[in-house]
Symmetry: C2
Subunit: 299 residues, 2 copies
């Protein structure tokens, strides 16, 4: 159960982000590539990263409404997240045919268009950011936010994590350090970027930005470990993808490394760590409630 306040905020955030993504992704020519981009962007994602971006912005700014100013970068984050899913699902990568209960992009549109749709979404994220920075008069904090985002999604972040993942699949990962590095890069970086961007756009001081970065990093770990747990104990209908796939394909997960029980303990450990960093802030209740909700989620 979540509070009415959080539920309302989530609904409002999703509505604003959907509308904004609709605006950004208005269909043009050539139709097929817009259809492919839209297929994955509007495939029913939870919009968790934009939500974290908005909640972090709100924690700092104390605005109760969703400011238009934050929607561009929040949407850019979702575009980047979606492109990474399309490319990760490709036959040459994880070879997944199901995502959020629907056929993956390359199954529907073919590999060539799927590769290009991913490229186009990443490219569009950069374009959206440039347009946004220009529209709001080239303020330094906006550029810092965009710079952090592309650092987090690049080789030092998400892409680097995926490289560690695919080069170690099918064999036991060498060390605990490498397992953590993989997930910190592959999952935490974009989640922490969502929080950092929210804070920066709201004009937060450096120490507040650092706290939200640390929060996002730990939340990202807790989130990923819960994902690994759900791959074993989840209900495929709820999760929207095949269950047991990680083990079958000898993926390195927190569960294969630590076992189920220890992994679930780690979920709680890292979510508590996340909460501990931000609980001192007046306006952090919704972020804390969301954290507790996420680690107990069943999908």
């Amino acid at each position: 159960m979540i509070s009415r306040e959080l539920e309302e905020y989530i609904n409002l955030s999703q509505k604003k982000v959907e509308e904004h993504l609709e605006k950004i992704l208005k269909e043009r020519s050539p139709e097929i590539i817009y259809q492919a981009m839209r297929y994955s962007v509007f495939a029913g994602g939870k919009r968790l990263r934009p939500l974290l971006c908005l909640l972090s912005y709100q924690m700092v700014s104390k605005d109760q409404i969703v400011d238009e100013k934050i929607l561009d970068i929040a949407s850019a984050i979702e575009l980047i997240h979606t492109y990474s899913l399309i490319h990760d699902d490709l036959p040459a990568m994880d070879n997944d045919v199901l995502r959020r209960g629907k056929p993956t992009n390359h199954v529907v549109f073919g590999e060539a268009i799927a590769i290009l749709a991913g490229d186009a979404l990443l490219n569009l994220a950069a374009e959206v950011c440039m347009d946004w920075i220009l529209r709001y008069g080239c303020r330094e904090n906006l550029i810092k936010a965009a710079k952090y985002l592309f650092w987090a999604s690049g080789v030092e972040g998400m892409i680097g994590g995926q490289v560690i993942d695919i080069t170690n699949s099918g064999q036991d990962i060498k060390s605990e350090e490498l397992l953590f590095e993989m997930h910190l890069k592959k999952t935490s970086r974009l989640i922490q970027a969502s929080c950092v961007c929210g804070a920066l756009v709201a004009g937060a001081e450096d120490d507040v930005v650092s706290d939200l970065e640390e929060y996002g990093k730990n939340l990202g770990l807790a989130f990923q470990i819960r994902d690994d747990v759900l791959d074993v104990i989840g209900d495929s209908k709820k999760v929207g993808k095949s269950i047991g796939k990680d083990i079958k394909e000898k993926k390195n997960t927190f569960v294969t490394f630590y076992g189920l029980e220890k992994a679930q303990q780690l979920v709680e450990h890292y979510s508590q760590k996340a909460i501990d960093v931000i609980k001192k802030y007046d306006n952090s209740e919704l972020l804390i409630e969301l954290t507790n909700y996420l680690i107990n989620r069943e999908k």
Copy 2:
């Protein structure tokens, strides 16, 4: 034969761009992805787009030296060009095994790493631009340049052109208009972006920016048509890739559409059109000489 002045400028430009790309692509961990990125970036490309960016900057600024300020965006353009080549060569796309006389990225590193190396280069281009804008104090003309670049490389540009290409391969293209749209997007956009970025960074007035945009658009067409001609009459050792591939794979090119003779006339027509737009500028000699050199090139 080219003049000593142009030769010296090309050598200086290449040296500066190589050094800058080296700095940007300093090898870090995970090594394999940096190796893959570096393999294609340093595969002996002509650095034509950075050169056009530098020459356009120089035409406007009248600086004889290569200003450090232009090197970031010039390098970002080359990163984007390289990512597009890696992805275009993939088995699901053009399935090319040879590029610039060397095995293509996926042949050496495998498809998964090649996809990620492309992603990483596009992502890095955005990161380089954000860092550059921040470093030079958030000036509007720099953001406009970066925005134009990502517009030109996105669905309205390069990616859109590639979509038209692959969805029409193996069949006759429907119309002359579509053939032109394909090449304007696939090839011209990034070439005109190189010129526009150079002009914007140099602080050019709107009408000068437009003239260099028009120059780049026409040069891009001439360049692409010459490429199509070379696919038929070229020497594979000089060109560095298989000859006759376009026809074998029923690609839609200017040669398959118009025949060899008319295609070569079009090369001359569009290069003359390009030259006509900029010849009124005092400092356009090197750009004009380069244009004449490019349309007579044999590789």
